[in-house]
Amino acid sequence: MIELANVTKTFNADKHNQFTAVDDVSLTIEAGRLTILKGPSGSGKTTLMALIGCMARPSSGRIRLHGISTSFFSDADSGSALDITSLPERFLTEIRRTTFGFIFQQFNLVKGISALENIMLPAYPTGESQAAFRQRALELMELFSVSRHAASPVEWLSGGELQRVAIARALINNPTIIIADEPTAHLDSKLSREFMEMVGTLKARGKTILIASHDPLVYDSELAETVVGMRDGRITGITGAA
């Protein structure tokens, strides 16, 4: 479970171009459910996901993660949630690596290396043996039907294939939470539906999924359990909350 209490994120604080992207947001995201952040461009969805995904720190408020386990914190031992608001960068990186899997709007795959290497990238600094995570990457490619592109550079892949490689990369470290930012922005309707099918597969595997989107194919999907409406950095409504 992810718990946000009065979270605010302000850029360029105390300058003439000060801008509040997320304004006093309190929200609970249940584990194992698909939560959609819905709203127009500039509503603060991406910033909120960056805060949840330990990529940035909030200007004020608290973010707590329940049920996670890292080298420096175990939920089972402490019996409490981990407050990530003021953790040092090193700890945030470890949480990002072990707990979250990210699917970016532009896919953000590294050009020039193969699809297989791209999928393995988040696992390189973990210290796990390459043979082990290579095997896992091949299994993920099999799962998402992109095995035949294992050795191909990512530039050769189509939009749908890039999306699948990006999802496989998000799963390589076996994260409990998947974060996807506008995942269907560059896909046609057919590919968008295929993406939602894959989301269904991940949900069936017990993953907590958080998607930011203003695509009706995503937020109107029957898979969507909770839809959080956002505008101007604030929550405008929540439907289907547990």
């Binding site: 991406t46 910033t47 470890e94 990238l121 988040p122 390189y124 210290g127 043996s129 930012d181």
Partner: protein, 378 residues
Amino acid sequence: MNSPLNRHTNILDFALSSLLRRKSKNLSLLVVYTLIVFVIASLIFFVQALKHEAAQTLAEAPDLVVQRMIAGRHDLIPATYGEQISAIRGVRSVTPRLWGYYYDQVFGANYTLLVPENGVVEPGSIMIGAGVARNQRIKIDDMLTLKTSRNAPLLLTVQGIYPSSSELISSDLIVLSAEDFQEMFHLPPGQFTDLAVTVANPREQVTVATKIAELFPDTRPILKSEMLRTYDSLFEWRGGMMVVILAVAVLSFIIFAWDKATGLSAEERKEIGILKSIGWETSDVLQLKFWEGIVISLTAFLVGVVLAYGHVFFFSAALFEHALKGWSVIYPQFRLIPVVDAYQLTVLFFLTVLPYTAATIIPAWLAATVPPDAAMRS
């Protein structure tokens, strides 16, 4: 099983694959870098070998050489000076020497003429260096005609040619008898070019030199240590041509490293952002860039040094010879004895590998300190 060793090998593995995908850029970097290391290392090997040759040559030189001076110029010295110097306490032996230079107008070459101490050459015969043999196109038993100072021809038979291994010092040498030397330059009997003095106790060399200067104020005693110092400064880092080549090479390296330091492409910056966003720490990114830098710079260093070794010791520094081996028309053709100065190589290593690696890491470090959410906004 997670281990730090796995982490290092995984990142090294990715660094190699990362280098391979920018093949042409990295290959051109490697070629330029290798070339710079090659020039500097060639210079170091060449100068070191010359110094070594010079030191070996001087090892057999007399402790002291006494020259007579007139109006600040070198003049002939009478044998009687030698007799009196022999009487100085501490002097073991005094050997009068005859040597000089001869300019051959036909071939436009300058030869060094020398009379050996032990008289191995009969009157009418000569021993010559390989350079003279090449220049005159003569071999053993051929005749060589020199012109005396009275414009009369002096016919000499080649008795032997010095082996090419000693060519650095014997290339332009003609060794002849004292009689022929006196005939050549019309020298009065009992007059010599200089005196070679040996001293029993090395610590007394300076004292003996001072006594000689007091006894004969018109002479200049030259210590062996002074000759060594002259050779050293001739081949030192500061020595003319050396400093020019070295400065050019170092300057090229600085420009090259600077270009690299400021040349992190937009794509490389984006990649660093992606790595950060998917869970790479700043230290992981730096380690990646460190390996990339080390692979290029260490390869360039090793290849450059090996090529320089071959260039200097197997091909006799072919690229430098016209600039550095002398001004004569008789270029020595010789193979230098391999001498490697570990200290200078270590300095070269630190001056090339470290700045380049730093030049690779610093811009990456600046790029890697951006917040990871930047990748989400790209």
